[in-house]
């Protein structure tokens, strides 16, 4: 299981990478492992305004469904259409080809609590 150092993590096992005012989201390696083989990802509509902590996508395995929550508030600017045909990217490359959505961060809202890789590692161990 990998936990890249350049990302931030949430208690709901999402990862976020922030480049300027754009945040890219996905679910962590731990989360994809717990869900098992991903068979479908329901993506948000582009242009949708999200509050921090809002459920914006749904990840499905054969026998489980999990909501995915946005760690920061903003507007959805891009989604990973590739997951429609190949949802397995979430399993095989959770931090790369398995990204789910990109959001333009709104300046005036607080984000949910984010952890560093070390903090997330500790959180998983607890």
């Amino acid at each position: 299981m990998t936990i890249p150092a350049n990302l931030k993590y949430t208690k709901d096992h999402e990862w976020v990478r922030i480049d300027g005012d754009i945040a890219t989201f996905g679910i962590s390696d731990h989360a994809q492992e717990a869900l098992g083989d991903i068979v479908f990802v329901e993506l948000p509509d582009i242009g949708r305004e999200l509050d921090a902590g809002e459920a914006y996508a749904v990840v499905e395995s054969v026998k489980a469904v999990s909501d995915v929550y946005t760690p920061v508030a903003g507007e959805v600017v891009e989604v990973n259409d590739g997951l429609e045909a190949e949802p397995e990217h979430v399993n095989t490359d959770a931090y790369g080809a398995g990204w789910i959505a990109k959001v333009k961060i709104s300046a005036d809202t607080a984000s949910v609590e984010l952890m560093t890789d070390d903090e997330y590692t500790t959180f998983l161990e607890e």
Partner: protein
Amino acid sequence: MNNNTSKYSATQGIQHEEALLFEHAHEAPESIHLPGVEGAVPEALQAFMRQQPANIPGLSEPEAVRHFVRLSQWNHGIETGFYPLGSCTMKYNPRVNEQVARLPGLAHIHPDQPEDTVQGALELLYEVQQWLGEISGLPYVTLQPAAGAHGELAGLMMIRACLDARGDTKRRTVLVPDSAHGTNPASAALCGMHTVELKSGADGRIDLAELKAHLNNETAALMMTNPNTAGAFESDIKEICQLVHDAGGLVYGDGANLNALVGVARPGDMGLDCLHINVHKTFATPHGGGGPGAGPVAVNDTLKPYLPVPRIVKDGENYYLESTSDTSIGSILSTLGQSGVYVRANAYISAYGRQSLYKIAEDAVLNANYVLHRLKDVYHVPFEGVCKHECLLTDELQNKHGIKTLDIAKRLIDLGFHPMTVYFPLIVHGAMLIEPTETESRETLDSFCDAMLEIAAQCEAGETDLLHDAPLSPIRRRLDETQAARKPVLVWPQ
């Protein structure tokens, strides 16, 4: 492989591969000879004629029969062997019930023909209506719901109507134990209510403190299954009902597990307001590979005014359908119900009658406890004590050998048995819920228990490959459910 395995195995007949209907690629034979008026298509319809044929493959009768008989031989049914699916009550389905349901005056009658021409059918259905009221202790019954989940919806609609009539329009919360069937929260949502989950107590039963903590002025109902899905009777049932009633709510019973109580105790006497009955479970109508069922709902005086219409009413010696009522929740089906299912249920109750009905519950409970007793030292039993009609085990002791419930289930197939219900209820990890039913002999129960013990022994002996690879005997081995869901192919391409 262990030599003595073979004594448990289902006899393997010749198993044929069988193509899809669409692959029987030859020109369609001469059309089946049909009755009717050989007239022209009316002129007014000509503008609407179908342009492309549907491509429904037509087979000759011998080909069609062989196709479906071969498919049938890939199936395991109650008539083939033991089928201990927990909370499903897979008991023997008497053949005479099939015979009488096919009598022309019962099978070939229209729901809208004049009532005076269907008095015999109405009489049979009325009888079932009354008997289900008597058996449940909730005297007023609707036959309209088509299955258990449909009954849940009907029951919750009645509860909501009753609360609304009291002016209690803020009560929209349904309390559901975490051991409940998934249909319970789904039905509540469909009725415009939301569910709050009650965490089960350490004994798998409803925790009174947890219940009290969640009862308030928004509580519409408690939705419960008794015996619950862990196979345990809720011994505090009267207190539970009292607490809910005192808080202004009503108690809904999921009757999936009524087989443990029939003729022995009645949900109405326990304080429940409403109960749906799974006729295809308790009253032995065949499951048919997923349906049809019937989910009649029995209610007490509190909910009687809200019963769906139509209801069958008796006036003197005549039966008729009562279709109007000011307080009814209305209709939830286009007909009066799954009549053919109730004809079979009537025949089933008639066979036991007043004298013997209780024997169903007694032998069902006896059999479940017998299985529990024989397996309890080898499989983990999460909740102590006697069970009712089903017993709950887990794979905890097998996990250390890398064996999970799924492997045990699949290995049972190789040993000639249908697996138990797996991974339900959700309150324990790796659940195995075994419901033998009353129609199984001691010999069958013993051979099943022997197979379960053999599997446990194979775990201990490290023969894990055998279990991971199972099943090896049926026409297909483990199927790739991930591929099926990732790239769904639900129809054969043209």
